[in-house]
């Protein structure tokens, strides 16, 4: 057992946890959190692959590292888009349920007058 294997098992556990959260958490924001957990588990798996590929004087294979960096950026973009969707959905729901649709619209319009 070495560090790479250890973190590999850790990443397996994180993937399972993230999937579980994605399935059972009903709140959209919690799903997004679960997605981030799942994603970090997958990135960690890349990290394990990189560490095992240490060679040529490097502590880890640079290719998987680069992939993870790209992956993290993409995953942030996804989070930002999903969060924006959640917020927009909540706002529209509030307008409908509270029956204040007209009022809040007027307020928003008032912002720029």
């Amino acid at each position: 057992m070495n560090s790479a294997t250890l973190f590999g098992l850790c990443s397996a556990a994180l993937v399972g946890l993230g999937l579980f959260g994605l399935i059972v958490r009903p709140e959209p924001l919690r799903k997004i959190l679960a997605f981030n957990l799942l994603g970090s588990g997958v990135f960690l798996f890349f990290g394990v692959v990189a560490r095992r590929g240490a060679a040529a004087g490097l502590g880890a294979d640079p290719v998987p590292q680069a992939l993870v960096i790209t992956g993290i950026v993409v995953s942030f973009s996804a989070t930002a888009l999903a969060v924006a969707l959640v917020l927009r959905l909540r706002k529209l729901t509030d307008e409908v349920t509270s029956g204040l649709g007209a009022a809040s619209k007027a307020q928003e319009d008032g912002d720029h007058s």
Binding site: L19, L22, I23, V24, P26
Partner: protein, 546 residues
């Protein structure tokens, strides 16, 4: 004598002209009375049937799928009769299209059905045949719904559903047929020649018989006929029952391997055919609507034809296709003529009713084989494949039944003629109708020598005349006996077994509801996302299975 060039041009134009006219009617340019095209469209086909020498072929360019059209004896006879009926029907249709807005769509549907109906008689390869068969089957939808009544929509819906089912059977059958044939030839003759030795022979035959049987209205696939023919406008019913139905007949003629005797399959087909023949009579005499009576008569007649074909197949009788085609030609003209008679009767003043009733009676009794009419010859020719055994006896019994049925039809016809008193039809319409009627009497006499089944002398021999007469007398007697009861016969709804089917319909719909429940359950987030995980595991497991 025609040069091959002219012959093939004429042959191609038989199909090209209706299609071109359809395109014209479809385009914005084709304003004005597009319905004027209807009587003209089948004329090239009529000319081709009369003049193009047998076995002339045309191969279309590759861009048009390289289709091949050929005219042979059965094809030519049917093509001639059908195009004559289409033309006469076109004259009636032209007068019947009610409003400007409906004229164009009706014309388009009519011409499309027409092209398909004539095309099946000429197509020599499977793709072309399937294409034209689809045209004639599906485009008929537009003719049936033309009156835009709820009954028309119901009938058309049922019709399309069954037609698509038939298409599916045929498609499957053709695929198997092509697969069983050696080489890459798609010619029907090549594929059928290889069928008896194909390893999928039985399945192929089953699919082909189901597909064409559905089009011919063999029991239990007959339910669409009564509904459709009573809902469609009369000219449409005339061409559909006369000409379009023969797509199924020509299908059986072309696609069954008569070279090889297949007793099992032949007898099955013949049994179904005879059953349909008697079933049509039995239900038909309970019908009040004359159009429905004619529809059940079609069920019966097509059943008889299937029996002829089946017996031919059982014996490996190579003359059977021609005999069946001959019988079909007679039916094209008679059934078309009877529907047009219905149209004439509905408009004729009661005072002049005999002007309609007498030709109609001759036509109708012709179906039962009235001596000296084309019907007698048709029955005589059909005897060949049927033989003298059980099948021959059944055939004569069916003539008794047919007599009974057509007498019932004539009674209903006169009853309906007495009720209506709209404007009488123009002499052009009456002329068109009478042309068809006369053709039904005369054409079989003319074709008799070409098919060489019997001579005029045989037909006119006293033995044959008696053999044709006694079923009619028996039928007449039966009708007289049943006369007092005819009002007490149960009134079976049009489409008989359909009524039972409709009671089962809710359960079919509840199946749809079950699917809906399953779908909405699976579309919940936790379930669907769990399915993702489950599928990963399942796929891994199945991948590990060698």
């Amino acid at each position: 004598m025609m040069t091959p060039m002219i012959a093939s041009t004429l042959l191609a134009s038989a199909l090209a002209v209706p299609l071109a006219m359809m395109a014209l009617a479809l385009s914005r340019r084709g304003t004005g009375h597009t319905a004027n095209l209807l009587p003209l469209a089948p004329l090239p086909a009529l000319l081709a049937a009369m003049m193009v020498p047998e076995d002339t072929s045309v191969v279309l360019p590759q861009a048009l799928l390289g289709l091949r059209i050929t005219i042979d004896k059965p094809g030519a006879m049917l093509l001639g009769a059908a195009s004559l009926l289409w033309s006469a029907g076109g004259i009636w249709a032209r007068a019947q299209v009610r409003s400007q807005s409906q004229e164009r769509p009706f014309t388009v549907w009519w011409l499309t059905t027409l092209a398909g109906s004539l095309g099946v008689f000429l197509a020599a390869d499977m793709i072309g045949f399937y294409l034209f068969f689809t045209l004639v089957s599906l485009a008929a939808y537009g003719l049936i719904v033309h009156d835009d009544t709820p009954a028309a929509h119901r009938a058309a819906g049922l019709y399309v559903a069954l037609a698509l089912l038939g298409e599916a059977f045929l498609l499957m059958g053709f695929v198997l047929l092509a697969a069983g044939a050696p080489g890459s030839s798609l010619l029907i003759s090549d594929a059928v020649a290889a069928l008896p030795t194909s390893s999928w022979r039985d399945t192929t035959l089953l699919l082909i018989v189901l597909g064409f049987g559905l089009k011919m209205g063999l029991v239990p696939f007959h339910v669409w006929m009564p509904l459709t023919y009573s809902a469609a406008p009369i000219p449409a019913a005339a061409v559909l029952s006369g000409a379009a139905v023969k797509a199924g007949v020509i299908g059986l003629i072309r696609f069954l391997p008569f070279e090889a005797a297949l007793p099992g399959w032949g007898e099955v087909l013949a049994s179904v055919g005879f059953f349909s023949a008697f079933y049509g009579v039995g239900i038909g005499i309970t019908q009040a609507n004359p159009a429905a009576v004619l529809a059940y008569s079609s069920v019966s007649q097509m059943g008889f034809l299937a029996a002829v074909i089946g017996m031919g197949l059982a014996a490996g009788n190579r003359a059977a296709p021609l005999a069946a085609a001959f019988y079909a030609v007679h039916h094209v003209l008679v059934k078309g003529g009877l529907f047009l008679a219905l149209g004439a009767a509905s408009a004729r003043l009661p005072r002049n009713a005999w002007l309609v009733m007498v030709p109609a009676a001759v036509l109708a009794l012709g179906l039962a084989g009235l001596p000296l009419t084309g019907g007698q010859i048709a029955k005589l020719v059909a005897k060949g494949p049927l033989g003298d055994g059980l099948a021959g006896t059944l055939a004569q019994l069916s003539a008794v039944g047919t007599t009974l049925l057509v007498l019932h039809f004539l009674r209903r016809l006169s009853a309906s003629a007495a009720q209506d008193s709209t404007e009488p039809p123009s002499s052009l319409l009456v002329g068109a109708w009478l042309t068809v009627a006369v053709a039904s009497l005369v054409l079989p006499w003319m074709f008799l020598s070409t098919i060489g089944a019997a001579s005029w002398n045989t037909v006119l021999s006293s033995e044959e005349l008696w053999s044709a007469s006694w079923p009619m007398l028996a039928g007449g007697l039966l009708a007289a006996v049943l006369w007092p009861w005819h009002t007490r016969l149960p009134r079976i709804p049009e489409g008989d077994v359909l009524a039972i089917g409709q009671r089962c319909l809710p359960s079919v719909f509840s199946l749809g509801a079950t699917f809906e429940r399953v779908d909405s359950y699976l579309r919940q987030w936790p379930i669907a996302s769990m399915c993702v995980v489950l599928l990963v595991l399942l796929l891994t497991l199945t991948l590990a299975v060698p």
